[in-house]
Symmetry: C2
Subunit: 223 residues, 2 copies
DNA sequence: TTGATTGACATACTGCCGGTATGTTCGCGC
DNA sequence: GCGCGAACATACCGGCAGTATGTCAATCAA
């Protein structure tokens, strides 16, 4: 048998890449199935979790077999990390868009915090990145994988605040972790709340107020 | 065969409970093996995680078989929850001890926060309660299980602060979650740091300063 | 054009592990 | 001292991650 269930994929794609050089087709096919696998993984890991999702199910959803999966990924963890990256990059791009509209530092910080809180409400981000990420990947690797993405953005914003004399000599790294931890936890609470809308508003209110308190306290203490 | 590896246990315990009524012996034996299983589970879940620990290993460490394990617990999750409770109760008792020495509300809040941060540094608490708890038990159940324990203490402290006019009309529930999330995340960072001592001090410093900022901002805004 | 090579899969199998079903023994009430 | 049930132990099953192997087709060297 061999190539049996994958024929449809070629037919579909061939129509879209007729102009390309022939040598690129193969790679294009492969990239397509890889993306399908990642999308399938993101979907299933989000709904049923890492342990609750079998590789066979992921492969079937992507219209391939486990053999294809193991051809593209080293194993279940590797596939999870690919799913993780996909979800993280999505949030990262949103945060970046906010950074580009540069305004007052404190205003920008508020916007980034609000946007990150919103992103944390995405079920995929919440389960894959926040909850299962550290458990499945191990904390060290999880941290490294976030370094240049969403966490990096938040850390940079806080670094700017400190550089502008916003906070006292508080460690940037520590503050950034505190903020991320607080927000992701709050987002989880919102998502699991019987009345997400209300809790979400309460949370945004609390965050904004706390930020204002810190700013106020910060400006009365030092110049 | 049957009762083969459990004889030693009776011999050991019999010496310590000679004074008890005979009718209590059986229950005492059982409670002992149950505790052994929980201790074994806590130890192994802490070092190798939930997925990385087999029930056979846990049972063997407790000097019994899987049959005994399934006699005392419904399954792996149930055993995990027992381990979770054991670790949580330990932290809870520490926090309670602090509450008993009643002082200024803000001082008490600072002490509780510092103690909770310290508790979060315990590897067992960190892995079982903070990281794997929500994943293994599900967030809802995880939250409920913490309600009357460590989280309850922190929430009560914050409720006191608000009742005393400390924070503006900020939701207690939301604030408590923010604080717990921030601290547990920070603790994880400390534990995985190459220089835990330094980062720990930085974190305590940051937390104390932020608390002071909030207090300062709080007192300048409202009476 | 063709034979060899290799990438991109599919199929078949293995071992581990959680869970279950069943067996065995001993303590305890009668 | 006897039956009964609690407190275990043993044997087995099914699912699943991982591996080993097979297959086909696209590419390339000659």
């Amino acid at each position: 048998m061999g190539m049996v269930g994958a024929g449809w994929r070629r037919l579909v794609i061939m129509a879209t890449v007729r102009a390309r050089r022939a040598s690129a087709r193969r790679a294009h096919y492969a990239a397509s199935t890889r993306d399908d696998l990642v999308r399938s993984a993101v979907s299933l890991f989000t709904t049923h979790g890492y342990a609750g999702t079998s590789l066979d199910t992921i492969a079937t959803r992507a219209r391939v077999t486990k053999g294809a999966l193991y051809h593209h990924f080293k194993g279940k963890q590797d596939l999870f990390e690919a799913a993780f990256s996909a979800v993280e990059r999505n949030v990262y791009s949103k945060l970046q868009r906010i950074l580009e509209k540069s305004e007052n530092l404190w205003v920008k910080a508020g916007l980034v915090v609000r946007e990150y809180l919103q992103s944390c409400l995405d079920p995929a981000y919440q389960r894959i990145v926040i909850h299962e990420g550290p458990v499945v990947m191990g904390w060290q690797r999880w941290r490294d994988a976030q370094e240049g993405l969403s966490y990096g953005v938040i850390r940079d914003v806080i670094a700017d605040l400190r550089a502008a004399g916003g906070l006292g000599g508080i460690s940037v790294e520590v503050t950034a972790r505190l903020v991320c931890g607080a927000l992701s936890t709050a987002a989880t609470m919102i998502a699991n709340s019987p009345d997400p809308k209300r809790v979400s508003e309460e949370t945004e209110d609390a965050v904004v107020r706390l930020l204002a308190l810190v700013r106020a306290g910060s400006e009365t203490q030092d110049g």
